[in-house]
């Protein structure tokens, strides 16, 4: 477990909600922000604010250094080969849409296949649905094992020589499953397909090495890893990004502009039309510094431990069903569950009245909910600031909910 001095870095944590100390168990939706990140954004606006890449003046240089410095931090964080492979986007959704609209439009044709899985988040389903519709391509889903994991046999059965794109989430936002991206990438490449990874739930929690994974694209969001909302990253292999057309056109991304023809800047700027998300990138850079000070290996260990503890404690609650892998080592810090016939919304309201914040609903994964044969679930998700005491508070709240709804029944 991480030293709980860490909590002191998160000003939001120390407050009461409905008369109880806050227990925040919704980090898979968005994480809380350490003071370091809040200060970095504030410092940028108070001292360095200016537009980037154009100012001859000092503030312009400082803003550019901050923004481009953040790119270097991201490159190092995911071990990309070069900084040109790091494109700043608004978030994971924008990054995946960029791949679908640019790479997808140019490389997927009628009868070609796009392969995803049943556990994907809507943001890794709909861009491919739209692409498949526009091109007359086939969208195929890899089925899941009973425990919510992927089997490589089924991956091999689904991917064929007609497959142009395989897109899989690294860590499931519902099941917590950590998927074997490296192995799936090998299979995709053997059929000549590119591998896209939705890393929104992985980058905050486990060490990501895009060279070792050998994936072609990797997308993630800043706000789930202590950074601000509105900033995300698309990593892409240089050779692919070089051949791709931008999807947004305007200022910042151009080289020469004529009356009827224009040319694009070099990588990565040709994909960053308009004034970029400067403060967001600087905030993300500060979040990366913060996570690296703690160490991703420690964070991963902490979350495995919390997930194991939560699953053990929660399984003692009568009538509680936990979805996803039974082995805590096979999952990140996400535990999705239902409590007998208490609807997850009712459960979330009872927990909130006791200061415990969980998510209830379909978690932007309607096909997965259908696969699980439930209309909704409750989800507790952990991050570096959570403790075993938080889990105990959750379990206490579950008992209260159970008793309450039994009484009124």
């Amino acid at each position: 477990m991480l030293n709980q001095e860490i909590r002191k870095h998160f000003p939001i944590i120390e407050q009461e909600i409905n008369g109880h100390p806050l227990v925040y168990l919704d980090s898979a939706a968005t994480s809380q922000k350490p003071q370091q990140v809040i200060d970095a954004i504030r410092n940028y606006y108070e001292n360095d604010n200016s537009n980037v890449h154009r100012g001859v003046h000092t503030l312009g240089n400082r803003a550019t250094e901050g923004y481009e410095g953040a790119r270097d931090k991201v490159r190092d964080f995911i071990n990309a080969k070069s900084r040109e492979e790091i494109v700043f986007t608004r978030g994971t959704t924008t990054a995946l849409n960029l791949v679908a609209q640019s790479y997808g439009s140019a490389n997927v044709g009628e009868g070609d296949e796009i392969v995803i899985t049943y556990m994907e988040h809507h943001s890794n389903i709909i861009p491919w649905q739209q692409l498949a519709k526009a091109k007359g391509a086939v969208l195929k889903y890899i089925d899941l094992e009973e425990d919510g994991t992927l089997s490589l046999d089924k991956v091999k059965e689904t991917i064929t020589d007609r497959t142009k794109i395989v897109s899989v989430m690294h860590v499931s936002n519902v099941l917590g499953t950590i998927n074997p991206i490296k192995e799936i990438t090998e299979i995709a490449h053997a059929h000549g397909a590119v591998m896209v990874v939705d890393g929104a739930q992985a980058a905050p929690h486990i060490k990501v090495d895009v060279q070792s994974l050998d994936c072609d694209f990797y997308a993630f969001s800043g706000h789930k890893m202590g950074g601000p909302t509105g900033i995300g990253v698309l990593y892409g292999k240089k050779a692919l990004l070089n051949k791709m057309e931008p999807v947004e056109f305007g200022g910042e991304m151009i080289d020469f502009v004529g009356l009827h023809e224009s040319t694009w800047k070099e990588l990565p700027w040709k994909f960053e039309g308009g004034t970029p998300i400067i403060a967001g990138a600087i905030g993300l850079g500060a979040a990366i510094d913060f996570l690296e000070e703690i160490g991703l290996d420690h964070i991963e260990r902490h979350e495995h431990d919390l997930a194991a503890y939560a699953m053990e404690k929660m399984s003692q609650v009568e009538g509680l069903t936990i979805y996803g892998p039974k082995n805590a080592e096979a999952r990140a810090g996400v535990v999705t569950f239902n409590l007998s016939d208490v609807h997850p919304h009712d459960l979330a309201t009872v927990l909130d009245m006791h200061g415990v914040a969980v998510r209830a609903g379909h978690h932007c994964a309607q096909p997965l909910m259908k696969w699980l044969d439930v209309s909704a679930t409750a989800r507790a998700s952990f991050y570096i600031y959570n403790t075993k005491e938080d889990v105990d508070r959750l379990v206490d709240g579950l008992q209260v909910a159970k008793e309450y709804f039994n009484e009124v029944n």
Partner: protein, 146 residues
């Protein structure tokens, strides 16, 4: 930890009674009005069938999936509108909206069991649960229906 006083404002016994023993659950085969509506943020769904003749709601049934508030509200809604004119049914839906928004509303309207939903106004995250069935009814018989 054991205090449930606040919860009692939301989960009034009338609501739990409608949730556990829903009225008018089912489908009217020969309905004149059919509405499907969902709440995309949480996954609640309702399938509402009604018979409307001479501007009177002769019958109404619902099927659906959702939390106690949304299902209880659907049960209450069907109970309340049966036998009412379309105009009165819509007026009732409007009143529910006003209550949820914390606005003034016409106190002369007999709310029956529906009055129990007034506690939902204090739980902003749950207002959409309470209004789903009413929105479905409005969609089916309101001025924008076909």
């Amino acid at each position: 930890m054991k205090s449930t006083k606040n919860l009692d404002q939301l989960y009034r016994s009338v609501i739990m009674d409608h949730y556990k023993t829903p009225r008018n659950k089912g489908v009217i085969e020969k309905s004149s009005v059919t509405v499907d509506m969902n709440n995309p943020t949480c996954g609640d769904v309702i399938h509402l069938t009604m018979i409307v003749e001479d501007d009177i709601v002769q019958d109404a049934k619902f099927e659906g999936e959702g939390c106690s508030i949304s299902m209880a509200s659907a049960s209450m809604m069907t109970q309340m509108i049966k036998g009412k004119s379309v105009e009165d049914a819509l007026k009732l839906a409007q009143t529910i909206s006003e209550i949820m928004l914390g606005n003034e509303y016409d106190k002369s309207i007999d709310l029956g069991d529906v009055e129990a939903l007034s506690g939902v106004a204090k739980f902003p995250a749950r207002i959409k649960c309470a209004t789903l069935a009413w929105k479905a009814m409005e969609k089916g018989v309101g001025p924008d229906s076909e």
